[in-house]
């Protein structure tokens, strides 16, 4: 094996190695420190882990492609909250009263459509004005959150539909509904990025925008499509989560953008664009959730989770730079 492919292999596999380490550590430490007598790697526990990873994980898939494209989206938490409110509130609108349970798919479509629309608005602004995506979505994070508050003031929006709750709590082939959504999204985005022209172009644009333009790739539409996809996925995440919970606070989804970016960066995607892998992002999402569950399992305070994740993020960044430093002169500047 050549040195180059070895280091690629190390980088690709690092997140999974980290997950295995976490599993071993928490299983062993759990024997001594845990208050419960259940093993950490209990089947139910692991199934729950997948389910709890879904809300962040679904958005993280979208963030990966936006970051591969060389952009970033800070407004996903606010889009998530808006779509959650639209989902729950639209089921109570009088015009849908006659639909019975058919109001559910209508509400889903409305929420998902809103997500796509808000994402498209971000993408259009980035494309047409040339303002950096960081600034556009930072503004949108505030603006969309303002819209959330304007919708229903500071009151929570609640609506429980039992058909919907049954659907969200169902287990098909042992996996929860939310898990299926996470897996389906992962598969679809993997296909998009690895097997389609759009995916290849997105990598090319993130890697070297000048070269992509010279090769005849239209940068704008690709960026906008990626923003629409992440808007859609933020909405889908809200749909999956709030179908079960049935009540949304105007503050819900705050700091989601930071969690999502943390997961994506842990998975090895570069902020500078052009490189990143969907499967590794799934690894990053699972690693964070595993850490949360593991620390709770061994009886550590939930407060320490933030501390540990923050330090791990910095450590990963440091290690990644050490691995890359030989090949890339520009990093030394």
């Amino acid at each position: 094996m050549q040195a180059g492919s070895l280091s690629t292999f190390l980088k690709r596999g690092a997140i999974w190695g980290f997950i295995v380490l976490e599993l071993i550590f928490f299983s062993v430490a759990g024997e001594f420190m845990s208050l419960s007598d259940k093993a950490f790697m209990d089947v139910d526990n692991m199934l729950l882990l997948f389910k709890q990873s879904a809300p962040i994980g679904i958005i993280a898939m979208g963030m990966t492609i936006v970051m591969i494209n060389g952009n970033i989206d800070l407004s996903v938490g606010a889009i998530y909250a808006i779509c959650a409110i639209i989902l729950l509130d639209s089921m109570t609108w009088p015009i849908f009263a006659g639909l019975g349970d058919w109001a559910i798919p209508v509400a889903w479509l409305l929420a998902l459509g809103a997500g796509v629309g808000l994402g498209a608005l971000n993408g259009l602004i980035v494309w047409k004005t040339g303002v950096d995506a960081f600034i556009v979505t930072l503004g949108a994070m505030l603006g969309y959150r303002g819209l959330v508050f304007m919708y229903n003031g500071e009151q929570p929006t609640s609506h429980l539909n039992w058909t919907l709750v049954d659907f969200a709590e169902a287990q098909v082939l042992g996996l929860h509904t939310a898990t299926w959504f996470l897996l389906a999204v992962t598969a679809a985005i993997w296909f998009l990025m690895n097997k389609t022209v759009h995916g290849r172009n997105a990598y090319a644009i993130g890697d070297n925008r000048e070269a992509a333009v010279n090769a005849g790739i239209r940068v704008g539409p690709h960026m906008m499509i990626n923003f629409m996809i992440i808007g859609f996925l933020a909405a889908l995440s809200a749909v999956v989560f709030y179908s079960e919970s049935g009540s949304v606070n105007p503050n819900d989804g705050e700091l989601y953008e930071l969690w999502v970016i943390t997961a994506v960066v842990l998975g090895g995607t570069k902020l500078t664009g052009g490189s990143g892998s969907i499967i590794s992002t799934l690894g990053g999402v699972l690693a964070i959730q595993l850490l949360r569950k593991g620390l709770a399992h061994i009886g550590a305070d939930t407060e320490t989770v933030n501390l540990v994740i923050g330090l791990i993020l910095i450590a990963v960044l440091f290690l990644d730079r050490q691995l890359n430093i030989k090949g890339k002169e520009e990093l030394k500047v």
Binding site: L74, I125, W127, K128, T129, G130, V131, D132, F134, I135, V136, L138, G139, A140, M141, L142, G143, Y144, R145, G146, L147, F149, M150, G153, V213, R218, V219, G220, M223, E254, L255, L258, I261, T262, V265, L271, D301, E303, T304, V305, N306, L307, V308, I309, G310, L311, I312, L313, I314, L317, F318, R321, L331, K332, V333
Partner: protein, 324 residues
């Protein structure tokens, strides 16, 4: 001839656009509500903007040097909680320097990672946002922090006191702004900050120690955060763990409004102060007109994008971007 005039007007608007917008807002809100220009009201706005403003001053240095600081919000929560806790244990005279020392350590750590180890500042400070939040929660045990004897302490002077009829937070904000404004605009160090942010490679080749400049910028940022935490703690004499949550993005919004580029190399303290005041007066003006506080978020969104858009449109000479 008229073309030249048009270009001149365009250039003036591009350079001073944010000042023009500021004046337009002030006139608009004054017409809508006479109380807006009341001295008491203006004083109130400046007082409530002081905490955000003090933090924005420090982050301005970081941004001009070409980096970002997303950790200031949770760092401010940290210093607020620490100073309140130590107030009862050590007394205010020792608690304040102890808190400053601890906050500066955090700033030094970030400065070391970004400056000397050359790690990406966005991810480092994102990690520190989370880590410092965890640190604060661990320190306080998840409890709210309160001063036992709220009446009998002189500690409240920083947030609630007045000197010469002017609230102390405003004095701190204005004093710090003047000091840092001179540091950035009139000293060799200030010029180094611009050089590092404008072109890091060129700065290194001309003998500027880039790492040290970045390190000092983060130290200054954490000093400002500690000052903001002191004002916050002193104003309320009790605090939640999450008091600074989300402030990092409002700080960035104010700096961007002021016209600094997130790529580094441009921006001034004066412009940041204008950015902070615009945010404060918009918030206040919308409330006086009778709108809910959250309308300001939507207005801020529109203003930020318009401000940056017009700025870069003037620089490239075309309204729409050349992106195909």
């Amino acid at each position: 001839m008229s073309g030249v005039n048009k270009a001149q007007i365009g250039g003036f608007l591009a350079r001073q656009g944010i000042l023009v917008a500021f004046v337009v807002f002030m006139v608009g809100f004054t017409l809508a509500n006479q109380r807006f220009l009341d001295p008491d009201n203006i004083m109130g706005v400046m007082r409530s903007s002081a905490i955000l403003g003090v933090m924005a001053l420090g982050v301005t240095f970081v941004v001009i040097s070409g980096n970002l600081d997303l950790s200031v919000g949770s760092m401010m929560s940290f210093s607020t909680i620490v100073v309140l806790d130590l107030h009862d244990k050590l007394g205010p005279a020792l608690a304040i320097p102890a808190m400053f020392a601890m906050t500066l350590c955090l700033g030094a750590f970030i400065g070391f990672l970004v400056g000397y180890l050359k790690l990406n500042s966005l991810i480092v400070t994102l990690g520190m946002l989370s880590a410092i939040h965890g640190l604060t929660l661990t320190y306080s045990g998840g409890q709210n922090m309160d001063i036992a004897d709220k009446e009998g302490t002189w500690f409240s002077v920083f947030g609630q006191g007045e000197a010469l009829g002017i609230p102390v937070p405003i004095l701190i904000f204005v004093g710090l702004a003047a000091l840092l404004g001179v540091t950035l605009g009139k000293t060799p160090f200030g010029r180094k900050v611009y050089a590092v942010g404008g072109n890091g490679t060129a700065a290194t080749f001309s003998g500027i120690r880039r790492a040290r400049v970045v390190f000092i910028c983060y130290l200054m940022s954490s000093f400002c955060v500690a000052t903001a935490g002191l004002i916050q703690a002193s104003r309320s004499l009790g605090s939640q763990n999450t008091v600074g949550q989300g402030l990092e993005l409002e700080v960035l919004a104010a700096i961007i409004l002021g016209g600094a580029s997130l790529l580094g190399g441009s921006g001034t303290i004066f412009k940041t102060v204008i950015g902070v005041l615009i945010l404060g007066f918009i918030q206040n003006g919308l409330l006086l007109v009778g709108l809910q506080f959250y309308v300001q978020y939507v207005v801020t969104w529109v203003i930020i994008i318009l401000a940056v858009w017009l700025d870069i449109a003037a620089k490239r000479g075309k309204l729409w971007s050349p992106i195909a």
